[in-house]
Symmetry: D5
Subunit: 148 residues, 10 copies
Amino acid sequence: MSIAIPEITEKLLAAKAEKGLTFADLEQKIGRDEVWIAAVFYRQASASPEEASKITEILGLDAAVAKQLTECPLKGLGPVVPTDPLIYRFYEIMQVYGMPIKTVIHEKFGDGIMSAIDFTLDVEKEEDPKGDRVKVIMSGKFLPYKKW
Amino acid sequence: MSIAIPEITEKLLAAKAEKGLTFADLEQKIGRDEVWIAAVFYRQASASPEEASKITEILGLDAAVAKQLTECPLKGLGPVVPTDPLIYRFYEIMQVYGMPIKTVIHEKFGDGIMSAIDFTLDVEKEEDPKGDRVKVIMSGKFLPYKKW
Amino acid sequence: MSIAIPEITEKLLAAKAEKGLTFADLEQKIGRDEVWIAAVFYRQASASPEEASKITEILGLDAAVAKQLTECPLKGLGPVVPTDPLIYRFYEIMQVYGMPIKTVIHEKFGDGIMSAIDFTLDVEKEEDPKGDRVKVIMSGKFLPYKKW
Amino acid sequence: MSIAIPEITEKLLAAKAEKGLTFADLEQKIGRDEVWIAAVFYRQASASPEEASKITEILGLDAAVAKQLTECPLKGLGPVVPTDPLIYRFYEIMQVYGMPIKTVIHEKFGDGIMSAIDFTLDVEKEEDPKGDRVKVIMSGKFLPYKKW
Amino acid sequence: MSIAIPEITEKLLAAKAEKGLTFADLEQKIGRDEVWIAAVFYRQASASPEEASKITEILGLDAAVAKQLTECPLKGLGPVVPTDPLIYRFYEIMQVYGMPIKTVIHEKFGDGIMSAIDFTLDVEKEEDPKGDRVKVIMSGKFLPYKKW
Amino acid sequence: MSIAIPEITEKLLAAKAEKGLTFADLEQKIGRDEVWIAAVFYRQASASPEEASKITEILGLDAAVAKQLTECPLKGLGPVVPTDPLIYRFYEIMQVYGMPIKTVIHEKFGDGIMSAIDFTLDVEKEEDPKGDRVKVIMSGKFLPYKKW
Amino acid sequence: MSIAIPEITEKLLAAKAEKGLTFADLEQKIGRDEVWIAAVFYRQASASPEEASKITEILGLDAAVAKQLTECPLKGLGPVVPTDPLIYRFYEIMQVYGMPIKTVIHEKFGDGIMSAIDFTLDVEKEEDPKGDRVKVIMSGKFLPYKKW
Amino acid sequence: MSIAIPEITEKLLAAKAEKGLTFADLEQKIGRDEVWIAAVFYRQASASPEEASKITEILGLDAAVAKQLTECPLKGLGPVVPTDPLIYRFYEIMQVYGMPIKTVIHEKFGDGIMSAIDFTLDVEKEEDPKGDRVKVIMSGKFLPYKKW
Amino acid sequence: MSIAIPEITEKLLAAKAEKGLTFADLEQKIGRDEVWIAAVFYRQASASPEEASKITEILGLDAAVAKQLTECPLKGLGPVVPTDPLIYRFYEIMQVYGMPIKTVIHEKFGDGIMSAIDFTLDVEKEEDPKGDRVKVIMSGKFLPYKKW
Amino acid sequence: MSIAIPEITEKLLAAKAEKGLTFADLEQKIGRDEVWIAAVFYRQASASPEEASKITEILGLDAAVAKQLTECPLKGLGPVVPTDPLIYRFYEIMQVYGMPIKTVIHEKFGDGIMSAIDFTLDVEKEEDPKGDRVKVIMSGKFLPYKKW
C-alpha cells in the first residue's frame, strides 16, 4: 500500500520505540487520548504549542519537531480503496452498513450528518473468552442541514 | 449518488412507512438491533426464516418477500468514494484516522485485524446541550494473523 | 454527462415551466432561497412538511410529491470529475485555489474546516458594463477540530 | 493526501513564518488579496515582475525566486477527489449544489458559465456568537456561449 | 463506447436522414455553422426560440422538440478516455501537444487560457492529391487571469 | 498537476530563457513551426540530427543534448484528466464538441479519422478589439478505414 | 464484463445461427475477411450499401438492418481493462510487449506509428501436434510523424 | 507517459547504442528474435544464463548485469490506458476488434483463449509503394477451458 | 455491488431452488464439479450440448436454455475492486500474498505462470472443532514463457 | 508494474541469493511454510522476535533487520489491477469464478466468508506428464455473519 509516511512520523515513532513507550503511556503522560496522539504522529491532527512541547520533551526530540506538530496538516491517506486489511475493514463497514446507518441516523435525528470534525474516536480492548474484541467508539456532533 | 436500491428494499421501506413504524420499533418487536434490521432491508444481511417471517408479518408482506430476505446477498454500496455527505464522513474517518487506529490496535493486540463479520454496530443518540451527538459503537472480534 | 435526474425532479421542473415560474419567483412565494429550493427539486435537500406542501400547492402537484420531498435523500452528483463546463469550473476552482484557501482559512481560524452542512449559498447577478458577473457567496460555520 | 508541494512554496512559507507575517499582512503590504498571494505561493498564479520583487523583498528572498514567480505555472492539485477535509468540503458543495447552482445561473443569465479565469475569490471571517463563520465570495464574469 | 445518445438526438438525426439533408445543407438554411448545429442536435448547445423553430420546421418536427432545444443542457460525453478512434485522436493531440501549446500560448499572450465558451470551431475539407485533409479551426477568446 | 517534466526539457527551457529567445524566434532560425519545436523541447517529437544540431547550437548546448533530441520519445502527458485550466479546455472541447465533430467529419469524408500523426498544428494570435483571440489550426490527413 | 451488445448485433448473430453459417462461410459469400464481417456485426465497422445488402440478404434480414450497417458507428468496447480472459490477453500483450514492439518498430521505421485505420487483421488456425495455435496477423501502414 | 524505465534497461540501451548495434543485429548474433531480446532489455522476459552472458559479452557489460537478466521480472507497463500513440494503437485494436476476434476464435477453436505465454510475436517491415507497412504476427497456443 | 446477473442465471437458480437441489446434488447427477456447474449457471463457462441438456432436463427447463449454455460467454464480474466481502477476500489474498506466491512459484518452476484456463478449483468444507474451515484447492498447469 | 519493493526486501533477497538458499530451504530451517516466509520478506506478514532472529541469523543479517521484521506492516501490493501476468491470473480467477465460489460457499456454510486472516496458503508442484501443475491450497476459517 503506497502511502508516503512523512519523515517526521518516522522520527516520532523511532523515538517512541527507543523509549519503550506505548500510545497508552503517552495518553497517561499527556492527558489526551492515544488515538488522537497517534493522529498527531501521522500528521492528521495538529497540536497546541503546549501539547507539542510535552510530546517532544517526553520523546527527547527538539523544538523544530514541536513546531512542525502545531502546523495544520494536509490530511488523508490517499489511496482511494485502502489495501491494508485492517484499514480496509473500515471501508468495508461503510460499504456494507453505510445505507443502514444513514437510515437509522436520519430516523433518530432528521436530515443531517455526524460530524467528523467535532468528533472523538476511542479504541478499547474488550476481553472475551471466545476471543478478545476490538471496540471502536465514535462520537460526532449531529449537524442538521441548515436551510436558508 | 447512483446506487440502485433493490426493489425489495423499496417495498419494505414503503410498508414500514405505511405502518408508521421506526427501525427502533422493529428492534422492539423482532429482538434484533435496528441497524441489523436496516441491513436486512437494504439486502446487506440475510435473515433466518423465523426472522424473515417476523419482519414480513409485522409489515404485512407475503412469504415470497420473506424467502428473499433469507438469501445471502451480494453486498456493498458500489461507488468507490461515496458522495452522500453522511456516508462520506465514515470514508473520511478512515482516510484521516486509518493509520492512527491501525497503530493503536496493533499496539494493543498485535498483528491482525478487527473482524467486520464477527461484528456488531450500534447507533445511539447522546443528548448534549451543545448539540446532540451521534454515537457509533463498533465491536469486532480481533483476528490475529495465523502463521503456518 | 451521465447523471440520472430523478423522475420527481423532471415532474417538478415541468410543472414550474408550465406555470412560467422562476426559482426567484418561488423564493418570493416560499420564503426560502432559490438555490435551496432548487436543491429540493434535485433531491439534494429535504423540505419540512409545510415547505413541501407550499411547493406542491404552488406547482399544482399532489400530496404524494410533497411527501417525497420531505424524505432525506441520497446526495451527490456522482461523476467523479464533472464534464458539464459550468459545474466543472467549481471543480477547477477547488483544484487551483484549494491550497490557497486552506492556508488562509487556517491562518484566520486555526485547524478545522468550513462546514458544508451548517452552510448557505447565494447566487447573485452583478451588473457590470464590461460584462455581468456571477457572484456566489458561501457561508459555512467554522468547525474547529475537537481534541480528545 | 499525496500532493507534491513545490520546493519554492516551502521556501516562501518558511520565510513568511520566520518573518512572522500572515497572508493578511502581505495583503496590506503588496496591495493584492491574501488568497491571490497564497495562490502565487503555491504556484497556481503568476506575478508580474513588480509584484514578484515586492514579495521577495518583504520575505528577504533573492531575485531567482522572484523570477520563478513570474512564470506561468502548471496548475491544479492533482488528486481527483481531494482527501483533505477542508478542501473536500468544496468538492462536496459542487457534488450536492452543482445542479441547483447550474439551474439558477442559467435562469438568471442564460446558457453560459461563470468564468474561473476572470474571477476573484475572497475569504472572510464572520463573527457569530453561535460560532464564527467562513464566508467565501466568488465573483466570475458570466461568459455566454458564443454561437457561430 | 457507452454514450447514452439522448432520445431527442435520435429523433433529429432520423428526421434529417429522412429529408436527405446534410449538416452543410442545414448551415445554408439556418445561417449557423454545421458544427454548432450538430452540437444542438447532440444537446451540447442551446438554440434561441427562432433557431429552434427553424430547425424543427425544416425537419418537420413539432414545437415540443423546438422547446427542448432551447433548454440549457447538461454537457459532456462522459467517458474519461474516449474509445472511439476519431474522438480519441483529439484526446491524443491534447496528450502529446498539450504542453507545447500551453508554452506557445503563454509566450504569445501571457498567463491565461483560450476560452472554450467564447469559442468557435470549424471543420473543413482540404483537398490534397496525397490524400484529403481534415482542417479543424478553433478560435477562442484569450482570457487573461484576473488578479485581485 | 503532477507531470514530471524531463530534465532535458528544463535544460532547453533554461538555455532559451537565458538567450532571451521565444519559440517564434526559434521558428525563424530553424525553419520549423514554433509548436513543433516546443514539442521537441517537451520530448513529444523527435528531431533529425540536423534539426537537433541547429537547436543546440542556437542554445549553446552540447552534442549529447542534440543526440537525445533525435531519439523517439515515449509520448503523452499522463494524467487522465488534465487539471491545468489551459490544457483542460482542449479536453472540454473534445467532451462537448466530440460527437458533433465526429458527425460532421463522417458526413464530409465517410468512415475514418483525422490523423494525429500526419498532422500539423498552428497557434496564432488574432487581434480583436473585443479581446484578442487564440486561433488553433489543426490539419490532419483523413484516413479512411481500410476494409479487407 | 458489462458490455452492452447492440440490439442489431443480437439480431445478426441470431439470424446467422439460425442459418447455420460461420463467419468463414460469410467470408466466402461476401468476399470480405471474417474478422471484418464480425466487426460489422458488432458495429465496429461500417459497410457499403452493397456489402450491407449482401449481408442482410444472406441472413434474411430487412433493408432497415442493411441501412443501419452503413452508418459510421461509435467504436470501442468501453471497459478500461477488459475482464474477459480472451480479450484481456491482447491487453496483456500490450502491457508486456508494448515497449519492446515500440523500440523495434522505431528501429526499423523511425518515429511514427502502425496505423490502426489503414489496417487489416487476420485470425488463422495453425494446426500443431503439441496443440493448435491461434495466429493473429496485423498489418498496418507505417505513418511517420509529420514535421511542420 | 509516466513509465519508470529500469536502470538496467538504460544501461543496456546505452551500451547497444555505443556499439552501433540494432536489435536485428542482436537477433543475428544471439539466435533469438529481436522482439524477445528487446523484452529482455525492458525486463519483461528472463534470459537463461547462456543467453544473458551472450548479451552482456556482446555489449561489453559485466556479469552482474547478466545475472539480473536471468531473474523473473515483475511484468507490465503500468498505466491503465497507455498514452504513447504507438502503444495506444494496440489498445485501440483490442477496443475495436476485441469482440470480433473473440467471436472468430471461438468459432474456429471453441471456448478458450490464445495463450500470451506460449506465445511469439514478430515485427516485420512490408515494403509497399503506397507506404511501407508494419506487420505484426502473433502466434499463441490455443488453450481450451478445462472442465472438471 | 452492481453486477448485472444475467436473466438466464436467475432462471437457473430459481429452477434449482424450486427443485430443492444443491450444487453438490448437481455434481452427483451431472458428473462435473459443483464449482464448474455454478460457473455455467453464472455464464462464466460454456457447457457441451450433452452437459447443457442434462442440466436443463434435471431443472425442467427447455432446449432454448440448453442452447444458450453452450455459447462461449463474455466472462468477468466487472467491478474493478469487488465490494462483496466474500469475493473481496480473494482480492485481498492476491494483494497480500501475490508477491510471495510469485516468488515461490518462480523458484519451483522458473519463469511462467499458473494457467487460469487449464485450471480446476474445488471448494471443500473442513470440519474443525475451533470452527469449520473453507478449503479452496486450485490446480493450474504451469505454462513456461516461450522464447523465440 | 510499478510496485515499490521495500529496501529491506531487496536486502533479504540478496542475502538469500548469496547463500544459495531457496524458500523451501528456509522452510526446512525455520519450521514455517515457504509462502509465509516469503510474505515476511515482502513485509506482508510480521514475525515473532524468535522467528525474525532465526531468519536473520541464517542470512547473516544484523539485529536491526530482525527488529524490522517484527513490526506490523502496511499490507497490499497497491495497483488496483495487477499487470504482472502471474499475479493477474489470481485476479482473473476472482473475476471469473468469484460468483460461483460465493454461491457454493454459501450453500455449504451459510452467510459468511472465508477468513483471509485465520488463513494458510500452500503452493505445491504436481508433476504431470502432460505438463507440471501448480497447486495452490487455501484454507481459511469460515466466519459466519454475527447478528445482533
